[in-house]
């Protein structure tokens, strides 16, 4: 069991290398960012500690994706959780952090329990923890066992990835860590769970029934929608981003699940293509979510609050941060020609190609999934209009935002690197895809030498589709050209001059920040439209001076956290109730205790034959 040290414990196949790349792409800018970010937030010793933990965190993630033994994987997996727990509770004064850390570590530990169970079952069959030994043994594994192992892995890794309804920890834990850590957690750490699913389910276990893919797709779609709808309701900017991680994990899993689906139907080209889409979105999400968290951290550092209702007008105070946030927001909203657009297009295209290649009801199923993905991206765009608009545009809504200043250099550099990467990954899609094809081919064990995914270095084109193309560089070029043309028209044909004046106020004499649209107001249509799921409720409180005169009036609107209220809370209550009632067996009476011994003895003697 532990005799692995005699062998090489590392595995650097394309899949591992890809994930290593993702880890370092996000970690490096975060590290740069952290220099100035931590300064002044914490005492020097704690900063040292933070950097050590950061290092340990990145190292453990890197090791998670590059070992070839389940047991070592497990050790580093838990180490990663442990270090990230310390980072979540880094702000030890804050009770919220402690709670978030608790929820996080408990959920992730429960997930690990499932993973352990899966490993153990695999070990039973393979008598080894080595990946390749297990892979070989899996070919002879009965499909019933495979199904169980798959479900265990899905729950185990799903907890870490934050798929609904196991996402409960994510919106608590990610916002509480220091921002550069949030960016790594959200950008990279939850991706290790995707690595787990790809590595263990697709690479080692091998997909053998089509319902696996279907299940993953359904869960992914639910994650997408739930994540984005909750994000729309959220006013804490980091928590909003955390919910978007749930959504984007859903999108990534759409690619992965689609790939599983196609493998079971023996559509190898589409399987590779979908996995490419998933992996592409994975790296994209890592980059733009990393960037967005860093920007959110900058905003927090500059203003001292994460509540976007208190922000506003930051684009003038912090122009660079605003620009980076805008790029990130555009990328996550899948706007061309940035990277999020490419991967979402690929995912949608995978659905469409799948729909035209499968038969019967599956077509409609894939179509509906695609439609839900489209809905998700629409809602995500709305959410980021809200996030960017309320945070950065218009007037400052409180003193927090009024006194903001642009953040220090190293923070800006960190953000800049990621912003540039967003553009690069958007424009160089064809090149990226060639690399990803190798990764996904090797992960699926499919020969990709005869497959092509792009026309040339600028244009994507799935081989099996009839003349379907996407060329982001050209698109970007034309966007710029037409933009310039528009500008020229504006200059040449427009004769009038520009006047800067107050916003139209309907004759109301003084428009101030209290007249601005708030984030709550912005999300109201969505709250109403999705009220069947969000279950909003209002709290109104009137403070009266007398019966006729109301001195002040407060009004709050909340949404019900459905999963927490109807799944987790009842379970917790039940567990605690059971535990409490169990506690009654020990009321302090020594006679009773002696009685227990006696009764146990009698019972054992009576039922001795049973043992």
């Amino acid at each position: 069991m532990l005799n692995f040290l005699t062998k090489n414990i590392f595995l650097f196949d394309p899949l591992s290398l890809f994930f290593l790349a993702v880890i370092f792409i996000v970690s490096l800018p975060s590290l740069i960012y952290s220099f100035n970010y931590l300064q002044g937030e914490y005492p020097a010793v704690k900063i040292m500690l933070a950097q050590v933990l950061l290092f340990a965190f990145v190292l453990s993630m890197a090791l998670v994706v590059s070992v070839n033994n389940c047991l070592i994987f497990l050790i580093f997996w838990e180490l990663m959780s442990l270090v990230s727990y310390f980072l979540v509770v880094f702000d030890t004064k804050n009770v919220k952090s402690i709670q978030a850390g608790l929820i996080y570590i408990v959920m992730t530990h429960i997930g690990t329990a499932f993973i352990i169970a899966a490993f153990m079952i695999l070990h039973n069959h393979a008598h080894s923890f080595d990946f390749f030994a297990i892979k070989n043994a899996c070919q002879l594994m009965p499909s019933q066992t495979k199904n169980i192992v798959f479900l265990l892995f899905l729950i185990g890794f799903g907890t870490k990835a934050g798929i609904v309804p196991l996402h409960i920890w994510l919106p608590y834990a990610h916002p509480q860590a220091p921002s550069h850590i949030s960016s790594i957690m959200s950008g990279v750490m939850i991706k290790t769970a995707i690595y787990g699913i790809i590595r263990f389910v697709m690479f080692i276990l091998g997909v053998n029934s089509s319902w696996w893919g279907t299940l993953v797709l359904i869960l992914a779609i639910i994650s997408c929608l739930v994540g984005v709808i909750y994000a729309l309701m959220e006013h804490d900017i980091k928590r909003l981003l955390a919910y978007h991680s749930v959504e984007n994990i859903g999108i990534i899993l759409l690619g992965v699940g689609l790939s599983m689906f196609f493998i079971s139907l023996n559509l190898s080209y589409l399987a590779v293509f979908s996995l490419i889409a998933g992996l592409y979105h994975l790296i994209n999400h890592a980059i733009f979510k990393g960037l967005l968290f860093l920007c959110a951290g900058s905003v927090y550092k500059a203003t001292g609050t994460r509540d976007i209702e208190k922000l506003g007008g930051l684009i003038k105070k912090m122009p660079q941060t605003a620009a980076y946030f805008l790029i990130g927001a555009m990328a996550i909203s899948a706007l061309p020609p940035l990277n999020g657009f490419v991967s979402e297009w690929l995912t949608l295209q995978a659905f469409f190609l799948g729909a035209s290649n499968v038969i019967g009801g599956n077509k409609l199923f894939l179509g509906l999934c695609a439609a839900m993905l489209a809905l998700t991206s629409g809602l995500a765009a709305a959410c980021f209009v809200k996030a960017f608009g309320i945070t950065f545009l218009a007037r400052p809504r409180s003193h927090y935002a009024e006194s903001a200043k642009e953040v220090a250099l190293s923070m800006r550099i960190g953000m800049l690197i990621l912003a540039i990467l967003i553009i690069i990954f958007g424009l160089a899609a064809a090149l990226v895809i060639k690399l990803l094809a190798k990764v996904s081919g090797s992960a699926l064990g499919i020969d990709i030498s005869s497959m092509s995914f792009s026309l040339n270095n600028f244009t994507l084109s799935p081989q099996i589709a009839k003349s379907t193309y996407l060329s982001t560089p050209v698109l970007a070029l034309w966007l710029i050209v037409f933009g310039i043309i528009g500008f020229v028209i504006y200059r040449i044909f427009g004769r009038g001059k520009s006047v800067i004046y107050k916003t139209w106020d309907c004759g109301y004499y003084k428009l101030d920040s209290r007249n601005e649209y708030t984030a709550t107001a912005f999300s109201k249509p969505f709250r109403v439209a999705f009220s069947f799921f969000l279950l909003p409720y209002r709290k109104t409180q009137k403070i009266r001076e007398s019966f006729y005169h109301i001195k002040s009036f407060s009004y709050e609107t909340h949404t019900t956290k459905v999963f927490k209220k109807y799944i987790y809370d009842p379970v917790l209550v039940m567990v605690f109730k059971t535990a409490k009632s169990m506690r009654r067996i020990q009321p302090g009476s020594i006679h009773l205790y002696l009685g227990y011994i006696f009764i146990t003895l009698l019972l054992l003697i009576i039922f001795m034959g049973q043992f």
């Binding site: 506690r583 009654r584 020990q586 009321p587 302090g588 009476s589 020594i590 006679h591 002696l594 009685g595 006696f598 003697i605």
Partner: protein, 211 residues
């Protein structure tokens, strides 16, 4: 002869089960120990082994004289009510005791092959004494009753040991005697303390530590 002594032993155990006051309990315990001494002494006479004489002597010194004396002393010193504090009244206790006797007999027959009636009887009595001791510990409230219950169980074990396997190895036997004596001393010490701190020795009222 042995049969009579065993019967007396059984009777004294029944007396303990129905006892309502501590002195009565100690007295019955003394009878029981005396019977035990008788059994051992007869065994020593028949087997002519010097170690059995020593054990019988120790039994007499410790269980018949010293320990009951100590217990009486405790009663005198702490001056609390002599009531044992019954969870179950004597009548019902007697019923329980009868049930235990029956169960012990069944258990003894299960353990030993059927042709050895004396052995079965002795075993049954031994098991019954153990269970009676347990009964006292569970259903009597005071700390002293629990000490005595423990001693009764120990007596039962002694009977068991001397019947089924002809007693333990000698030095083990001595060690056990020593151990029992020390434990009575220590328990007595704690009874004093309980009395001092709580002004009673009803251990069913020691309910500070829960769950």
């Amino acid at each position: 002869m042995q049969g009579i002594i065993l019967f007396v032993l059984l009777a004294s155990t029944y007396l303990m089960v129905i006892a309502k006051r501590t002195p009565a309990l100690i007295r019955s315990f003394r009878y029981q120990s005396l019977c035990l001494f008788g059994v051992t002494f007869i065994l020593a006479l028949t087997q002519r082994e010097p170690r059995l004489y020593i054990i019988a002597g120790l039994l007499f010194v410790l269980k018949v004289s010293l320990i009951p004396y100590l217990l009486y002393r405790i009663i005198r010193r702490i001056r609390v009510s002599e009531d044992l504090g019954l969870f179950i009244n004597p009548q019902l206790s007697l019923l329980w005791a009868l049930a235990f006797t029956y169960l012990s007999w069944i258990f003894a027959t299960y353990l030993v092959s059927a042709n050895n009636a004396i052995l079965i009887g002795t075993l049954a009595i031994a098991f019954f004494v153990v269970s009676a001791g347990m009964f006292l510990m569970v259903f009597r409230m005071t700390a002293l009753a629990q000490i005595i219950g423990l001693l009764v169980m120990e007596n039962g074990l002694f009977l068991l040991a001397s019947t089924v396997s002809g007693g333990m190895p000698f030095f083990v036997e001595i060690a056990i005697f020593f151990d029992v004596f020390v434990s009575v001393l220590i328990m007595g010490f704690f009874v004093y303390r309980i009395n001092k701190l709580f002004t009673h020795i009803d251990v069913n009222k020691l309910l500070r530590l829960k769950g």
